[in-house]
Each structure stands twice: as C-alpha cells, then as structure tokens.
Amino acid sequence: MSATAATPSAAIPGLGRRIGSLRKERRWALITAYISLIVAAIVMLAPPLYMLLTSLKTSAEISNPVGTPWIVRNPTLDNYWALISDPMFRGFFFNSIKVTVCVVVLTMVISVFAAFSLARMKFFGSQVLATGVFLTYLVPDTLLFIPLYQIVGALGLLNSTWGLVLVYPTLTVPFCTWIMIGYFASIPKELDEAALIDGANWMQMLTKIFIPVALPGIIAATIFAFTVSWAAFVYPTAFITRPDEMPLTIGVVSQLIRGDTFAWGQLMAGALLAALPPVIVYAFLMDYYIAGLTAGATKG
C-alpha cells in the first residue's frame, strides 16, 4: 500500500486495468454462480420430477423399455385415483394426520411452557435443564428405538398410533423448546416489567405478551414439529406392523411394495401424495421454515 502511495503516477494506469479486470471478474463470478445453481437445481429436482413422471405413466408404459424414460407419452391419473379410492391408503393418511396433529399440539404446549419457564422464570437447576434439552436434541432416534420398543411394548401400545403419539415428542420437544428459549430470551425485559406493574400474573404474561411477540418463533417451531412427525420413519417401522395402524411414510414404503413386480406408478404416486403436506407447508411458509432451520445455530 505504501508503495502505491509513494508513486501515484505509476499506480493510475494499473488501477484502470485493475478496475476493468474487476468488472470482468465479477461478471465471470456471476456466470459461474448461475451455472452452478442451474446444475444444482437440475440435480436436486430430478428425483422428485422423475417420481412425478413415473406416477403419471401406465404400468404398460413403465415396463416398456423403448425410448427415454424421462418423458410421459400417455399421461394418466389412474395411479392417483387408485390410491385415493383405496381405503387402506386413506387409512394411512388418516393415521398420519391423527398422529401429527396430536404430536404438534402436545409438543407446542410442552415446549412453550417449558421455554417460558427456562428463559424467564428460572428455578433451581433450570440452567442444567436448558443444557439437557440441547443434549437430548442430539440423541438420535436410532439410539433409542430398541429400549423404547420394549417400553412401548410393556405399555401395550405396539401396533397402535397412540404409541407413536407417546414417543414422537422425543423427536420434536427438545428442538422446539430450544428454539423457543432463544425467541423468548430475545424479548426485552421491559415488556414483562410493564406487564407485572399492570398486575399481570405469569399466565397472562405468557399468553398476552410472550406468545404474540414470539409468534414467528412459534410458527417456526410448529412447522418443525409438523415436518418431523410427518416424516418420522424409525419409530413407526419398529413399532407398527399392522397396516391399519400405519402412518403414511411406513405405509407407502412397506405396503405399496408387494410381490416381485412392483406397481412403480402407484408407488411413486403414493410417495408424492405422502410428501405433499410438508411441501405445501413449505411452499407457503418458506421463511418461517428456514427461520426454524437456522434458529438452532444462529439463536442458540
């Protein structure tokens, strides 16, 4: 730097070239960025797209190896109709909705209260508990499913959706509590002081101030709980073997695959229908979804 300052006359032409190359560099950077993103988008979207294509084909077209498999020649919705009119598949859907709604409500009640208490009220050991919440979040379900299999079995809840309602909170509660602690802790203390002066009790403070102010966090946590319980796979695979109690994920994977000749079109249609609710939620609430995803690290 000192060298250029000492010889300004020499620096000027160099600077001009430098600016030109910078602009060029920036244009190349932009082109590289777009090329990478286009390639990535193709790779990321190809599997769902191919599932969609397959689901629109007849079995005859799927098993005909002539030509490219990447286009649909005779699109049909038969696979979807077959599934929607199948009471077993509707049963999967119903089970998934039942379990997910119960788990989401349960999770949000547990974690909002707990987060409020841990973020604001503090009690003996609350700091340890907050760390404990984070550690529990790190314990994977695949470590716990065998003892839980025994415990759920002892309670007589194997092959029952209620068994799933009992165990899914292990997947959702720690993370939801964790991000709610972050959101609640970021609310200024002046607000609770004002409420206390106005004579609010703790319950009113929670419902009238904390929940409304931290609503984005609550939405993000709800979306997380919903996505996780909808997509849960390890627990239902371990606990449920009766088709009429299966939720969608395991139902599609285990029941639509029968025999040696797979009904690929129907399988893909089932997978897409099952994936639809989280995708719809994501499409409409993307910002909350991403906030929830990144909250664990940026807030925590």
């Binding site: 990321m44 191919y50 009220m121 009690f123 314990v139 995803l293």
Partner: protein, 314 residues
C-alpha cells in the same frame, strides 16, 4: 427479585412496610414453583422418554438373548468378534465421513454461489434448492430406488445416452455404498447450504471492503474473512450433521436394506435387523450403543462451540 420489589411497592405504596416483605417471599416461592411446574412436562419427556430409555438400553445390552441372564459385556464381545459387525463399523464410518464432507463442501459452494447473485433472485433459487430437504427422506429415497432399479434405471439411460456404460447401482457393494452416500448427500446438502447462507449473510460487508482496500483477492477474502467469521457455524453444522448421518436409518432401509451381503448396513439398520427383525433385543441394543461414544464426543464439541458463539454474540 428487584423486579418484584418494584412491582410490589408500585402496586401498594400505602401498605405497611412489613407486608411487602411477606408477599415478596411468597411471590419468590411461588415464582420458582410455577416455573418448575411449567417445565415439568418437559422434564417428564426428557427423563421418561430419553434418559430412562438410554439407561435401559445399557441394561438391556448386558442380557442374554432371552433376557433371562446377565452376561456383562458378552454382547459387545460377540459383536466385535463377528466379521459382519466389523464391516458395519467400517461402513458406518465410510458412509458418515464421506457424506458429511461432501455435504459440507457442496453446501458451502452453493451457499457462496447463492450469496453472489442479486438478492432479488436468491429467494426462488433457495426455494428450489431446499426441496430435497423438505420431502420426507424415506419417500424421496423411494424415488432414488426407482431411478437405481437394475432393469429400468433412468440414470443408466442417461449414462448410456452420453455413451457411458450402465452402472450396477445397488448390485455391487461399492456402487451400493456410493448410492447410499449419493442419496444422503442429495438430501442433506440443502441444510448445509441454508446454514452457511445464513452465516454468510451475517458477515458484515465492511470487513470485505476493508480487505479489498488492503488489496485482498477474492480468494484471500474467503480465506481470511469469510472462513474465520464462519468457523463456528461450520463446525456446529458439521458436527451436528455427523451425528444425524451416523445415525441414519431410512436411506439404507429403503435403498438396500443392508444388502448386498450385509455390506451396506450402518449401525442403525444393523441394530434394527438384529434387535427387531431377528428378535435379539439385547444385542440390538448393544449395536445401537456403539453410536454412543461418538455421540458424546461430538456433543461435547458442539456444546463448546455453541457456548463460544453465545459469548461472542453477547
């Protein structure tokens, strides 16, 4: 507590001096009691559904097959002696490490590319690229399974179209391993991308400006500004993903179910195979407990990283 004192005095300035102290104590007592009661369901979930099962798993793993007799570390010994399980350890490590490294690199690259384009367009690209993360993994893996199908593989069709030979995706051990990694990387890269993008956005522009004035090239900016600023979040994300990937079950279950010849089993799928399908609960519990040491080490580092980050932000 100063808070309550002001409240009480504000609420009852005319009250006798002895009375506020009394209600102060009462509130103090009530406050922590209420707090504890509010956290009680959470404590119940953690204690009853995580801590107790984890302890129970340790107890289970010391029993014999019919769960009638205590055999100490017998299950662990049998497992470590069995060749299949040695392969499972290897495969779990190969799978988790290569998948996490690939996800981290690709995620970093994509986050960077996304950060470079004008802000207006970022939303739609981000929305598209995050899709694999949104679809439940068991279901998207079904799609991959169909694309890997030996007789109708659409991927092989694409390979043949550019003149490359067909690949026995799920038939050959190494290809099957690669396939499992590919699907995991596909599903997990968006998470890294989104985390890194959030981190990139939190790096103040002034730092880059200062670096540019000092004559830093783009590469030096990355090396000396971006990476140090993101160091913490990179390590948290990598460690977290290491746990999740190590404990992954759905992809292996749907794609290969452990085959060919048990060579693609990871801890979770093998624990399932042994514990639930073959009915040897204690040995299954022992298999899944092998994940525990790694988990403990990683959790320690994550916690340290998070605390560091909290201190930096405070």
């Amino acid at each position: 507590m100063a808070l309550d004192a002001t409240t009480v005095t504000a609420a009852g300035p005319a009250a006798a001096p002895a009375q506020p102290r009394l209600s102060l104590q009462r509130i103090a007592r009530r406050r922590s009691t209420i707090a504890f009661l509010m956290a009680l369901p959470l404590i119940a979930v953690i204690a009853g559904l995580v801590a107790w099962p984890a302890g129970y798993a340790i107890y289970l793993s010391t029993l014999n097959r019919r769960m009638t007799e205590f055999i100490g570390l017998g299950n662990f010994q049998i497992l470590l002696d069995s060749e299949t399980f040695q392969m499972v350890i290897w495969q779990s490590c190969i799978f988790a490490i290569s998948a996490v490294v690939l996800k981290a690199l690709l995620g970093f690259w994509l986050a960077h590319m996304l950060h470079h384009i004008p802000t207006k367009g970022q939303r739609i690209w981000r929305g598209l690229l995050l899709l694999p993360w949104v679809v439940p993994p068991a279901l998207s893996t079904l799609g991959w399974w169909w694309m890997f199908d030996p007789s109708y593989s659409s991927l092989n069709w694409l390979l043949n179209a550019i003149g490359a030979p067909s690949v026995p995706w799920l038939g050959e051990p190494w290809w099957a391993r690669a396939s499992v990694i590919i699907v995991n990387v596909w599903a997990g890269t968006p998470f890294f991308m989104i985390m890194y993008l959030a981190a990139l956005k939190s790096v103040p522009d002034q730092l880059y400006e200062a670096a540019a004035i000092d004559g830093a090239t783009g590469w030096q900016g990355l090396r000396f500004v971006t990476l140090p600023m993101m160091r913490n979040i990179i390590s948290i994300t990598v460690l977290f993903s290491l746990i999740v990937t190590f404990a992954n079950y759905d992809i292996v279950r749907v794609l290969t179910n452990g085959g060919p010849r048990d060579l693609t089993h990871v801890f979770a799928s093998y624990a399932f195979q042994v514990g639930v399908l073959s009915g040897n609960i204690p040995r299954g519990a022992a298999v899944s407990l092998f994940m525990f040491p790694l988990l403990a080490v990683v959790a320690f580092f994550i916690l340290r990283g998070v605390n560091q980050r909290n201190r930096e932000m405070a």
